[in-house]
């Protein structure tokens, strides 16, 4: 497989369904295996896996549903995650390690450490978050 050529053809889009815990993780798993096939470095794949997983789970747990898009542009992996609301009231609070509004029900499953967004930021070379009652949007770049 000719790597650099194939990498730049990558354009993926997935829809994420609210509360669908059974399929949760499938989007990030799928992205991981595709990036592996085109020979992206393992360290970069780990970062992408963490970012897409946390974004996916946030859409499943905290939103009415949304989408994750990923494409490769030059030496950057660009990830867009957006949903249909209800949005984040206070973004700076949501970005704090340990802050979570997760219900007891999902906490019992191990979610709600309040580490998802901080993990995403740590793994990103560029990170932007926007939110309103219409929805939340993350733009992430990871360079390789």
């Amino acid at each position: 497989m000719n790597n650099s050529k194939d990498k730049n053809k990558i354009k993926l889009e997935y829809s994420i369904i609210s509360n669908d815990f059974k399929r949760a993780g499938e989007t990030s798993s799928n992205i991981k295996s595709i990036l592996k096939k085109v020979g992206i470095d393992n360290k970069v794949i780990r970062k992408v896996a963490i970012v897409t997983y946390e974004a996916e789970m946030n859409i499943v747990i905290h939103s009415y549903g949304g989408n994750i898009k990923l494409m490769v542009e030059g030496n950057n992996i660009i990830i867009n995650a957006y949903d249909k609301g209800p949005g984040i009231e206070d973004i700076s609070l949501a970005m704090k390690e340990g802050y979570s509004t997760a219900t007891d029900e999902v906490r019992e499953l191990g979610f709600g450490a309040g580490m998802g967004l901080p993990n995403i930021k740590k793994c990103s070379d560029y990170f932007k978050i926007e939110s309103s009652t219409e929805g939340t949007r993350l733009l992430i770049k990871i360079s390789f």
Binding site: E26, R46, I50, L109, G110, F111
Partner: protein, 112 residues
């Protein structure tokens, strides 16, 4: 590096699912039940000790290349978790011991 199959034998653990991954090798242990913390801190090829048993643990293990999931305190594992583990070939093994007790045994075995 030690194979998961050998660790199961040495420590008399129960194999629940994911037989395809029995040849996976490991040289370390991570323990945790908060999924985002595990995601950030567990390293590839480690054995992951947890009390979580729902389907999402298999996705996490697969995403960060965990060698096997070790369920502690004899927790019951859900059917769809077992199916996913078989599909992806990530072994789920189980002990009735606590995290602390089994960690000591793993350490004595040379996994550290």
């Amino acid at each position: 590096m030690m194979k998961i199959s050998q660790i199961i034998k040495e420590l008399d653990l129960e194999l629940i699912s994911g037989e395809k991954g029995l040849d996976n090798e490991t040289n370390g242990v991570y323990s945790g039940d908060l999924l985002s913390v595990v995601m950030a801190s567990a390293k590839e090829k480690q054995i992951w000790l947890t009390v979580q048993t729902h389907i999402n643990i298999v996705a996490i293990a697969s995403l960060i290349d965990i060698s096997a999931i070790l369920i502690v305190e004899g927790m019951e594992v859900e059917e769809d978790t077992i199916e996913k583990s078989n599909e992806l070939g990530i072994p789920i093994i189980r002990t009735n011991k606590t995290t602390y007790e089994i960690s000591i045994e793993l350490y004595k075995l040379g996994i550290n």
